[in-house]
């Protein structure tokens, strides 16, 4: 297992730098689902940027030793370099509204001392239901079960608290 591919301080530094430069982004896709507790696997961390021309992005990249590689042929724009190769760039999410609208359907998750915005699991499901690639269809039942579990688990915990409080 190549250790440098698993999220470490280097990747966290990049995310911190993005936040420091007030770049608007959120984690989406399977990584966002995993952060919320879904038992899924993923090769990368998808970052949805509000505006890829945000001057904070090159600053964060410089600080982390990464570079921006523009779209080439059928390949989308991407990041290169040890600290950033784990991240994939997204500018739109199929089946969802624009970034600013979907921001209302996201929340902040703590990654150590850093807080990052993550798209809600129900919106990730909605996007995958729209895209319907074979890998999306495979992961969908797991995501739906996870969402059910998170919602019902909260209800169970809350009812436990209520009955203890009574």
């Amino acid at each position: 297992m190549p250790e440098n591919l698993i999220i470490t301080n280097k990747e966290i530094v990049f995310l911190k730098e993005l936040s420091r430069h007030k770049v608007e982004f959120m984690i989406v896709g399977a990584a966002a689902a995993a952060l919320q507790g879904a038992p899924v696997v993923t090769q990368d961390v998808d970052l949805w940027f509000k505006d890829l021309s945000d001057p904070g992005i090159p600053k964060a990249l410089r600080k982390s030793g990464g570079i921006f590689v523009p779209a080439f042929g059928r390949n989308p724009p991407t990041f290169a370099g040890d600290a950033v190769k784990l991240f994939d760039i997204f500018l739109t999410m199929h089946g969802l509204r624009c970034f600013s609208e979907e921001k209302k359907n996201s929340y902040e998750v703590k990654l150590g001392t850093l807080k990052v915005r993550v798209l809600n699991l129900d919106r990730i499901i909605k996007s995958k239901e729209t895209v319907r690639r074979p890998k999306d269809l495979l992961i969908l039942p797991v995501l739906r079960d996870a969402l059910k579990t998170i919602r019902q688990g909260k209800r169970i915990r809350n009812s436990g608290r209520t009955s203890r409080g009574q």
Binding site: M1, P2, L5, I6, I7, A30, A31, A34, L35, Q36, G37, A38, P39, V40, V41, T42, Q43, V45, L86, V109, K110, L111, G112, K135, I139, P141, V142, D145, A146, K148, T149, I150, Q152, G153, I156
Partner: protein, 123 residues
């Protein structure tokens, strides 16, 4: 009372320490540590050294087997209840989600990335 490997690993991670560096710092050998993990009772001196190196009270490193068992049963009961409420729900998905919800978000993400890199798993 038994030494809790899980608690020690969690405390190490929270302090950015590897298990090896903790053992070095506390003067406990690897052999002694793994021996301690499997013992029913542990000597206060060994617990003291590990606790001092981690800056916690010795009780934070101990686990009560009953407490662990109760926690596991509670989780299984909740998984049964959730999966039982809808026949289309997969019990394994529910159980794994509940287990992951006990972890910190960063740990959940790391696990998903690690699992993706094992040859028998796919995205």
């Amino acid at each position: 009372m038994q030494l809790s490997g899980e608690s020690i690993r969690k405390l190490c991670r929270a302090r950015g320490l590897s298990l090896n560096s903790l053992l070095k710092r506390s003067g406990v050998s690897k052999t002694a540590f793994y021996h301690l993990l499997h013992k029913e009772t542990v000597l206060p001196r060994s617990i003291g050294a590990l606790a001092t190196a981690l800056g916690v009270r010795p009780s934070a490193l101990l686990e009560e087997r009953d407490r662990e068992r109760r926690r596991a049963l509670r989780l299984l009961e909740a998984a049964d209840r959730i999966a039982g409420s809808d026949p289309s729900t997969d019990l394994d998905n529910v159980r794994h989600t509940l287990l992951l919800l006990e972890e910190e978000p960063i740990e959940r993400l790391r696990r998903s990335l690690i699992r993706a890199r094992k040859p028998d798993h796919h995205e």
